[in-house]
Symmetry: C2
Subunit: 333 residues, 2 copies
Amino acid sequence: MKKLINHPQNLRREFLAGLALAHADTLRVCLEPVYVVRADAPVPGKTAIVSGGGSGHEPLHAGFVGKGMLDAACPGEVFTSPTPDQIEAATRAVNGGAGVLHIVKNYTGDIMNFEMAAELCQAGGIEVRAVVINDDVAVEDSLYTAGRRGVGTTVLAEKLCGAAAQRGYDLARLETLCRKVNRDGRSIGMALTPCTVPAAGKPTFELREDEMEMGIGIHGEPGRERMPLLPAAELTARMAGTLLADLPFRSGDEVIAMVNGMGGTPLMELYLVYGELEQILQRHGIRVARRLVGNYITSLEMAGCSITLLKADDELLSLWDDPVFTPGLRWGI
Amino acid sequence: MKKLINHPQNLRREFLAGLALAHADTLRVCLEPVYVVRADAPVPGKTAIVSGGGSGHEPLHAGFVGKGMLDAACPGEVFTSPTPDQIEAATRAVNGGAGVLHIVKNYTGDIMNFEMAAELCQAGGIEVRAVVINDDVAVEDSLYTAGRRGVGTTVLAEKLCGAAAQRGYDLARLETLCRKVNRDGRSIGMALTPCTVPAAGKPTFELREDEMEMGIGIHGEPGRERMPLLPAAELTARMAGTLLADLPFRSGDEVIAMVNGMGGTPLMELYLVYGELEQILQRHGIRVARRLVGNYITSLEMAGCSITLLKADDELLSLWDDPVFTPGLRWGI
């Protein structure tokens, strides 16, 4: 295992120490229990947003803490759900009196622990609502998940809901928005190579030199099929076709599109895939109104990519353009 | 070879097609010859800045075209110098009448082709100055280079000079600034794994499972030594020590620091290295006034990192904070 770390058991703490030093103007890191909050938390009167999940998907979630996005993130150990005490402490730390939205990716452990934390907070008088993101069209009921997994749409939900909370949406309206984003967002991923969880020390799975895995999960969970490596044009067409059929998207739709790297894929390749994607969407009469191309929800050093399409409307596009100031996503400030 | 491409010979063109589609508000791509320019080029009366080099280091350089940074970038084929006709055409396209600065990384082919293009432009009445970046402390006279290689300081030079040009620095003052940045910037890199140039189809070098290469170049050129993999704390201390001794940096200095990923290293690990670096610098009485942590000058999917330190003063810090609007670096707009 080749990694720029000291000891696997210190990785999360040492990563967060570096994050805190690098972004002291944006966020603060608490270590007992582990969570990351906006530097100015709690913001009185603002609805707060907390997300979290296993580490190893950076910048998601810790890198999305800051003005216009998350109030707090709860990073678990690598590929491991955060514990209820982390989520409870983060929720308390960011509550500005207007309630807290939990954005939860659909993994059994995450769901259970966010629910437990929400109950504890509610017992303490904090209003909490939770929205579960389950946008991955690849598989139903996979390893760690009942139903569809939560992946790329989470990034878009955190940006859009973060902007809405900043504008003053109350908790009920924020929850409605987040449910709409989840309802209208779809993702699919693929991998060229596996990744290695530091504490395990060996790759999560194996792929032959001429093989790829379509529909991979962000923890290396099995996808739809192992298949011979395709040229990027065919690969993108296949991924886009699966997404377009699932919602279904229709000619005339506008979308926010994300071509996301799994961590180990060069930016050149992601832009190449984006170019293929936009041309495919054009042929279907779908206009990409906004887009992200880069590494936003990763799987350590896995090579591969995912595509997320979110049907957009005026509310979403306007919220998208609002300023955001986080380590992983920044504009307008 | 596992890559998200179609055919290696189309990679540069297809990458740029995607870049152009994704960032039409920021830049335009020309294909005959190949260069990338600011969407509003030429900007009348503004000194222009052109850089370039082999592709495969993205976002450098094409991803740094836009307001507050580069007016144009000339991407060669992967790890191959751009040709004089590319550089000449880009220089002509961005000349707003106030002359053009070429920022050139110190590789023999780049130097030769930028010089040839500058002569052609000057013969055509465009004033051109060139600054060569040679900040890599690892080796003298390596493969492809006489003297030190040009690496991470190039990113900082492009940001700082881009801001200065936007403020109205004339060509002579811009050249002076760029020389100062090069004089006061130092970098060193290391690799855990090699990368594969698509047209070659096999890794540029080989490293054993327990080995790393200290002082690697951004094309996989040999470094100072192959050595057993070190824990991140020791690795960072060794890299920082080499940099601090070279300038030399002194207690009381302020620096702009960059911890840069080579392309295949997770963000968690880069932040961990940044945390180690800032603590080491603190112990030397050196304050990190600004920083970048992420993938800025990469080597395809190589795993590893580089560290760049630039001695800062009020002029540099003020220019650093100016707005920048490019695909790879964006703030304040």
